[in-house]
Point group: C2
Chain length 336, copies 2
C-alpha cells in the first residue's frame, strides 16, 4: 500500500479540488494507494461526510496555511504547523511515501530541500515540465525554475535525473539530451552552454548537442536542459499562448453572428487538438533531486490535475525513482 | 531622397523576393526613396528587365555571397566583395542612408559593428522583436540575440534605446520598461536581473520592475529587457507556436470529411485573428546601437516583409533614430 500525502490548503480551490481529486484517484487507481490529507481537520471532515473509501483516506490536522503570497523562507520558519511543513516532515519520517501539493511552489521546493535533504551527488534539485510537441508526444525541459542560476555540472546532474525520469516513467529507452541554446552549432551559446557541452559530451548520456527555442515544440530532443531562469521564462511564456488564443477568438466572436459560429467551431477544434497544451491537465511536476517523492502542481489545479499528480506520485514511489537517481549519481561519469 | 541599400543575396528566396519587395516599396511609399540593390549584377539585371522605376532603383555589383551556413567572422574577412560587406561599407561612406538584409544575421550584425562602429555609450548593439499581445498591440523585447550574455549596464542601455525606438517609431510617449524575470517580486531573478533593477530604478526611464514570461503576450510592459540568450530562446519558441498550430490542425483535418471542414474554418479564423503572430510579416528588426540604420530580416522574408523592412529603414533615417540615441546616451543617467 503506497501512502500519498496530499496538501489540501493554500491553493486556489482548496480544499475542494484536492478532496475531489483524491476521491477520484482512489476510485480510479489500479494500484493500492492510501491518501493522507494534510490540512484543517474541520474543513476536511465537512468535505468527507460521505467518505466512500473509509480506511483508504485519512486526515492529519495542520492548522496553519502557507498562502500563495507568503514569502517561502519566512513562511517555512513561522508556520511549522502548516500542511506543507507537516506533510514534508511526515515524508521525512516515513509516515507517508510521497507528498503532493498545489500550494506555494517556492515553499514546497524550499521545504522539501530543507526537510528531506538532497540526494548525494545532487547540487540542486530541479523541476521539469512536459512541453507538448507539434507532432504529438512531448519534450521534457529541466530546470523550469527550482534554481534561477546554474553551473555546468548542475546541468549534467539535471541530464542524469531527466534521463532516469524519461526512461522509468515514460519508457523512453535511450532519451536524447540537448542543451537549450541560440543555435545548433557547437560554437553557439552563452558561457554556461559552452562549458556544459564539454561536460555533457563526456558522460554516457545520449547527448546530441544544442537545440534552439523552437525545437522544444518541434521535438528535436527528448530532454532539453537549461538553467531555471530560462526554463521558467519559456514555461510561463508557453502558458500564456492558450490564454492569448482564447482572448483573440473571443474578440473575433464579438464581431457578429457568423463570426460567433466560426469562433465556436474554432474553439472546439482547438480544444480537441491542443488538449495537451492545457498545462493544468498534465497534473504537476516532480521535484527531482531531494530524498523523497514530491509533486508540485499549479495553484489552480483542477480535481483531474490533482488526481494525475497522485498517480504520478504513486508511480514514482513504485518505481523507486529516488533510489535509481541515487545509484546513478554515485557512479563515475554518471553512466545512468 | 532617402537611399536604402538592399542586400539581395544569401536569403532563402534571393534575389526574387528582394527585388519584388523593392518594387512594391517604390510603388507604395509615400516618401521619396531610392533603392540600391547589392548583389550579382547579372542576376539582378535579369530581374529588372522591365524596371518601372528608372532612376529610383540602382544596382551595385557584389560578386560574392555570404550564405546562411557561413561562419560570420570568417565570411566577413574572406568575402569582402559580398553584398553584406559592400552594403555596410557603402553605409559607412555615406553612399546610402540605411542597409536592409534578410541574409546571414550573424554576418550582418558582426559586419555592422565592425564597419560602422558602436554609438558612443553603447556597450553592445541589440536587436529587438515585436511580440503580439493577446489584446492587440505588441510588446517590444530587447535583446533577442545580438549578444548572448549581458551586464546590468548593458540592459540600461537597451532600455534607453528601446524607449527611444518605442517613442519615435511607435509614438508611445512614456513607454513602460520591465525586466524579464521569474517572478514580479523585487527579490525574484538571477544575478543579472537583481543588479539591473538597481541601475534601472536610478534612471529616468519609466521602469516598472519585473515581469514574467507570460507577461510578454499578456502585455504588462511596453518594453521588456533581457539578455540576448533568454530573448532569443523566447523568440524562437514563439515562432514555433504557429507551426505547431498548423501541424495540429492539419492532423485533425486528416481524420475525416467533417473534420476537414471544421479545420478549414479554424484555419481561416486563426489567419484572421493571429495575423500579427506571423513573424515574417512584421518585416525585420533594427540593429540598434551601431552608427547607422541597419534592418535585419528572416532568411525566409516574403516580398511583403522586405517592403516593410524598407519602410522601417526609411522611417528610422527620417526620424534620425541614431542621432537621438547618441544624444540620449551622452547624458547623465540616460534621461532619454
Amino acid at each position: 500500500m503506497i501512502r500519498i500525502g496530499l496538501d489540501t490548503m493554500g491553493a486556489d480551490f482548496s480544499p475542494l479540488n484536492e478532496v475531489s481529486g483524491a476521491l477520484s484517484a482512489l476510485s480510479e487507481s489500479t494500484h493500492e494507494i492510501q491518501i493522507i490529507l494534510f490540512g484543517k481537520q474541520d474543513l476536511l471532515k465537512e468535505q468527507l461526510t460521505n467518505n466512500p473509501f473509509p480506511g483508504r483516506i485519512e486526515i492529519v490536522n495542520a492548522d496553519e496555511v502557507i498562502t500563495m503570497n507568503d514569502e517561502p523562507v519566512a513562511a517555512l520558519r513561522q508556520k511549522r504547523n502548516s500542511s506543507i511543513v507537516q506533510g514534508l516532515i511526515a515524508l521525512k519520517e516515513g509516515k507517508i511515501d510521497a507528498f503532493v501539493s498545489a500550494g506555494n511552489t517556492g515553499a514546497v521546493m524550499g521545504g522539501a530541500t530543507l526537510e528531506l535533504g538532497r540526494i548525494p551527488g545532487v547540487s540542486r534539485p530541479m523541476i521539469g515540465s512536459q512541453f507538448p510537441r507539434s507532432n504529438g508526444g512531448f519534450t521534457l525541459v529541466f530546470d523550469v525554475g527550482a534554481t534561477v542560476d546554474a553551473k555546468p555540472h548542475w546541468l549534467k546532474e539535471y541530464g542524469v535525473m531527466g534521463t532516469i525520469y524519461a526512461r522509468e516513467i515514460f519508457g523512453i529507452t535511450n532519451p536524447t539530451v540537448a542543451l537549450l541554446s541560440v543555435g545548433e552549432e557547437k560554437s553557439k551559446g552563452n558561457e554556461l552552454v559552452l562549458e556544459s557541452q564539454k561536460i555533457l559530451s563526456q558522460t554516457e548520456l545520449n547527448f546530441i548537442g544544442n537545440v534552439e527555442g523552437r525545437d522544444i515544440l518541434l521535438g528535436k530532443a527528448d530532454i532539453v536542459l537549461c538553467d531555471g531562469f530560462t526554463g521558467n521564462v519559456v514555461l510561463k511564456f508557453a502558458e500564456s499562448v492558450l490564454i492569448t488564443l482564447k482572448t483573440r477568438i473571443r474578440a473575433y466572436a464579438d464581431k457578429g453572428i457568423i463570426q460567433k459560429i466560426k469562433a465556436a467551431i474554432t474553439a472546439s477544434v482547438l480544444k480537441a487538438t491542443l488538449r495537451d497544451f492545457d498545462y493544468q491537465e498534465h497534473g504537476g511536476v516532480p521535484l527531482l533531486g531531494v530524498n523523497g517523492v514530491v509533486i508540485i502542481g499549479h495553484g489552480s489545479s483542477s480535481p483531474k490535475a490533482i488526481r494525475t499528480m497522485i498517480f504520478r506520485a504513486e508511480e514514482m514511489v513504485r518505481k523507486d525513482i529516488c533510489g535509481v537517481v541515487r545509484t546513478a549519481l554515485a557512479k563515475e561519469n554518471a553512466p545512468v
